[in-house]
């Protein structure tokens, strides 16, 4: 089960935070700070998985953004790495060569995509095509 997803840049600013477990505001800040510290110092040659409290964080860096996903200890790391990549691909397709600024100005759309992709901490849609179709439908409704 996914516990939370964070998108942070190198300076530590959170661009997207979605929590699938209940946490207090102060807890959320602490978590974001700790996760940032954890991943920003790691070399590119190191593994993409780190232990975080009693869970695991699987992260990947794309340009200046760190995509971090916190999962249970028993989850399959490689699968979630794929999942992050899938998410990035979808964002890329949706925003046409996405950059950090796109995410900043369209944060509600990013949330929408994320909600199509993951529900209640579980991956629910793995087909890129399906999600993009859905998103275009939703856009038409606006």
């Amino acid at each position: 089960m996914i516990r939370f997803i964070l998108l942070q840049n190198r300076q530590g600013k959170t661009r997207l935070a979605k929590y699938y477990v209940p946490l207090e505001e102060s807890e959320k800040h602490k978590v974001e700070y700790e996760v940032h510290r954890l991943v920003v110092n790691r070399d590119a040659k190191f593994t993409n998985f780190v232990e975080f409290r009693t869970h695991k964080v699987i992260y990947r860096r794309y340009a200046g953004l760190f995509f971090s996903v916190c999962v249970d200890i028993t989850d399959n790391e490689l699968a979630y790495l794929e999942c992050i990549h899938l998410f990035v691909e979808i964002l890329d397709h949706f925003f046409s060569n996405v950059c950090e600024l796109d995410l900043v100005f369209n944060f509600h759309k990013v949330y929408l995509i994320l909600d199509e992709f993951i529900l209640a901490g579980e991956l629910q849609e793995t087909s890129k095509r399906a999600i993009i179709e859905r998103m275009s439908e939703l856009e038409k409704l606006e």
């Binding site: 800040h29 040659k45 699968a79 529900l119 793995t126 399906a130």
Partner: protein, 856 residues
């Protein structure tokens, strides 16, 4: 005025984009200004304005930590709008900010219900997502029927989301199982891979909490395992089977084949391959073919360049290491190579694997390699290495150590590693080995001497604990040392002022023991009639101790006196106390040494004092079992639990200052006979006679408490606590009287083949007592509900599949009791609480679950 204001606000409302742009300009008060704007805007009636305001607020809350709980009601308002865009914003805000405590939570129940039953699938999905995030017990209960309908919806999208929500609903409202479970299981047979993936995901979560309840569904899962081509689905199914197979071994056999099939495929995804390997290692490790195949595949992982794969390979090996060490040994070179990798995660895994490989034969070699690594590594990893060596070697009372001399010198070496921070553990082991292994005491003293003599070590605060152990050992086993004078000198060297007072006290006390030993040897060597005695004393100590001439002894005494006189005025009470003890003793015997030994009178005061002191230190300290305290029988008439609160009130002013002097355990004034056994009996008498004191004699009480301070019970310690002279802080605090441990503490372990020194083991285990896992009472109603649902289903399925032999795997429970339990379950379904206690008892007995026989 107000209306025109609101018009202005509506027309000129800042959109979200403007807000973001404004934020990026970096004005510090911008956030608070916008917040005020938002507060105004959100109260307006125009829905568009409201929703934009809410959107801005959500943004600020998500990324800038602004609290948005106050806008809960407005979020409800926005959600009730009919425009989809507004609904979306509203639901998003709700999902982000509502929690179990939000007061307006009830208001959205109806709205959710409306949206869930809506024909517009997008509205439905919005509502489902919201429910998934914030579902409470009430919401789950109220909306179960809607979710049930949706589970059978024709639109795949909706069905998929409903399945996702089901997990949360079950969690909050277990009775929903009765309604929804059947549909959920039906979805397992769906052909749409996305739905399948969702269902399997739900079952994966459910199984990890309570595998036994889902065993009846194994055939369906098996079908999916064999047929599906979707990696995500397969990974989840494998996880389910990992849990199921660990409780049902026959499943393991059946599942092994498909798993091998997947592993053998040519371009299988690495994630799936890894999951197969992990499943094999954790639950199917009894299946030979599967295991061998998995180990072969792991080799590929280990030699891959990708650090992720290397790490995962090591991780998988550590799962299988306990049962199948050969797999690890085959890959030894890869593991050793990984030790010098740059990534700390990889290094750590490699270290754990190396420690798993350690056994009697290779412990010296591996420790040598590891110590080399430790010296070259950063402090964190260095301490990890040292820590793991210590743990592995001390397991089960030093099971793998054959050569204790080598191990003790290793411990000494560890003390000299620059980054070593494991002082406490090393201290504990030094003392432990000293008390348990008689034959190693010579080496222990040698190692301790080396540590004590070096003045450079005194400055390193991490080593203080080790030094205190060294000091204790040198004092306690001084008969093994070559030169007591050197030891005493080292114990009293000027640099010891760098030590904290508690350790300094230990040093002084050890010097005392050295002094007593030396003078005793000197005195007994003097007496010509007791030459026999002298021979005995020199033969029992295995080291050369004769040759205490007058010169040497007097120089020893004067050196000690010199070293200690400066301390007799120190601030610390403990140090001062001990110093005065030693000096007092020296004062008593000094003149005896000064005279030439002409007087044959062995009855001089000095000789008697000497005899007393030797008596004190002659009692051998043994290891103390952690359960020893409980074994001490309580004497009759001793009231341990009587409430002494009245005392507290009466003597409050007096008791506080007295409590602080509890640390001093030595009475300078009384030269009382110190047999520890006698002391405990005495203090029990006194304890019983001193309770309860008459209220008027507060001063008497104070004095009594001062004299026998330790006998006033605190909650942890019990009656027998005057430590007497021989102990200090190193040994365990719970020290039952000597005549009680002598029986069970000396159980020598006979080693057959090699001459391994005897290690005293006590009747405790080394592992801490693990509490039995309490089954979480939260899952009880859920698993019960699921089981009843499945049993009801099982009977239906029976008629359909005719070659299904319903096999009861728990033969040990009789048929009648099983039926009885079933009846009980059906009857208990209504009342949750009263049955919960009985369920806990039942939980300990294996539940009779019908497992369809897959072997047919």
């Amino acid at each position: 005025m107000a209306s025109s204001n609101s018009l202005m606000d509506s027309l000129f409302q800042r959109s979200l984009e403007d807000l973001i742009k404004g934020l990026r300009l970096g004005e510090s008060t911008f956030v608070s200004k916008s917040l005020d704007e938002i507060r105004r805007e959100i109260k307006l009636t125009d829905p568009s304005t409201k929703s934009v305001a809410l959107q801005k607020l959500s943004y600020l809350a998500a990324l800038h930590g602004v609290d948005m709980a106050w806008a809960a009601f407005h979020a409800v308002e926005v959600v009730s709008s009919s425009r989809f865009a507004h609904k979306r914003i509203g639901y998003h805000a709700i999902a982000q900010s509502f929690s179990d405590q939000t007061p307006v939570l009830l208001l959205i129940t109806n709205q959710l219900r409306k949206d869930l039953s809506s024909s517009n699938e997008h509205e439905v999905s919005l509502a489902l997502e919201c429910l998934a995030r914030i579902g409470t017990d009430d919401l789950a209960r109220d909306l179960t029927s809607e979710v049930f309908t949706l589970l059978g919806s024709s639109k795949a999208l909706v069905r998929k989301k409903a399945i996702g929500v089901v997990l949360r609903v079950f969690d909050k409202y277990p009775d929903a199982v009765k309604v929804c479970f059947k549909r959920l299981v039906e979805n397992l047979e769906s052909s749409d891979p996305q739905i399948l993936s969702a269902v399997v995901g739900v079952f994966c979560e459910l199984t990890s909490k309570d595998p036994r309840s889902y065993l009846p569904l194994a055939p369906e899962f098996y079908k999916i395992l064999v047929d599906s081509r979707n990696n995500w689905v397969l990974i989840k199914i494998l996880k389910i089977f990992a849990k199921l197979a660990s409780i049902e071994p026959r499943l393991a056999k059946k599942v092994a084949d498909p798993v091998c099939e997947h592993m053998r495929k040519n371009n299988v995804g690495k994630s799936l391959l890894f999951e197969c390997i992990r499943t094999v290692f954790s639950s199917l490790s009894d299946q030979e073919t599967a295991l061998k195949l998995a180990v072969a595949k792991i080799k590929e992982f280990l030699v891959d360049d990708d650090p992720n794969l290397k790490y995962l390979g090591l991780h998988a090996l550590s799962i299988v290491a306990p049962k199948h060490l050969w797999a690890v040994l085959e890959n030894k070179e890869a593991v050793v190579k990984a030790m010098s990798d740059e990534d700390p995660n990889v290094k750590l895994e490699a270290l754990h694997l190396l420690m798993a490989m350690v056994n009697e034969d290779n412990v010296t070699e591996i420790s040598r390699i590891l110590m080399n690594y430790a010296l070259k590594s950063d402090p964190l990893f260095c301490n990890e290495i040292i820590g793991s060596i210590l743990v592995a070697c001390s397991r089960n009372s030093y099971e793998i150590i054959v050569d204790f001399d080598w191990y003790l010198s290793l411990l000494g070496e560890m003390a000299r590693v620059p980054h070593c921070q494991r002082g406490k553990e090393i201290e504990h082991q030094l003392v432990d080995i000293g008390t348990r292994v008689k034959d190693a005491r010579l080496e222990l003293v040698r190692v301790s001497r080396a540590l004590l003599i070096d003045p450079a070590l005194l400055g390193n605060q991490f080593l203080h604990h080790i030094l205190s152990a060294a000091a204790w050992a040198s004092g306690e086993y001084v008969e093994f040392s070559k030169s007591p004078y050197e030891i005493a000198e080292a114990l009293l060297q000027p640099c010891t002022c760098l030590l904290p007072p508690s350790i300094r006290a230990i040093y002084i006390h050890s010097a005392f023991k050295v002094l007593v030993f030396s003078v005793g040897a000197y005195f007994s060597a003097q007496e010509p009639t007791s030459s026999l005695l002298a021979q005995e004393s020199t033969s029992s100590g295995s080291s050369v101790v004769n040759g205490f001439t007058y010169d040497s002894i007097s120089s020893l005494v004067s050196m000690i006196e010199l070293g200690l006189c400066s301390l007799s005025g120190t601030i610390d009470v403990e140090v001062q106390e001990r110093t005065k003890n030693v000096l007092g003793f020296i004062g008593m015997i000094k003149h005896e040494i000064a005279e030439k030994p002409t007087s044959q009178d062995s009855e001089t005061e000095a000789h008697r004092a000497m005899a007393f002191m030797e008596d004190v230190f002659s009692e051998e300290l043994g290891p103390v079992s952690s359960t020893a305290q409980e074994k001490v029988p309580l004497p009759k008439g001793l009231e341990l639990t009587e409430n002494l609160e009245d005392l507290q009130e009466i003597c409050r002013e007096v008791l506080e200052p007295v409590a602080e002097s509890n640390s001093s355990s030595f009475h300078t004034s009384d030269k009382v006979s110190f047999s520890v056994a006698k002391l405990t009996i005495r203090d029990q008498e006194e304890a019983s006679s001193s309770l309860p004191p008459p209220p008027e004699s507060a001063s008497l009480l104070a004095e009594h408490r001062k004299r026998h301070g330790l006998y006033y019970l605190s909650s942890q310690k019990s009656d027998n606590h005057n430590d007497g002279d021989g102990n200090d802080n190193n040994t365990s605090n719970e020290y039952p009287p000597a005549n009680e441990i002598s029986v069970d503490s000396f159980k020598p372990k006979k080693k057959i083949s090699k001459p391994r020194p005897v290690v005293v083991k006590l009747d405790e285990g080394d592992d801490p007592k693990t509490k039995p896992d309490a089954s979480s009472s939260n899952d009880e109603p859920l698993s019960r509900a699921i089981q009843t649902a499945l049993m009801g289903k099982g009977k239906g399925k029976e008629s359909v599949k005719d070659n299904h032999d319903i096999n009861v795997d728990t033969e040990n429970i009789g048929q009648s009791s099983r039926r009885e339990k079933k009846k009980k379950k059906n009857g208990e379904r209504s009342s949750k609480r009263s049955s919960r206690r009985r369920r806990d008892q039942e939980a300990s007995v294996t539940k009779p679950v019908e497992v369809p026989d897959l072997l047919l």
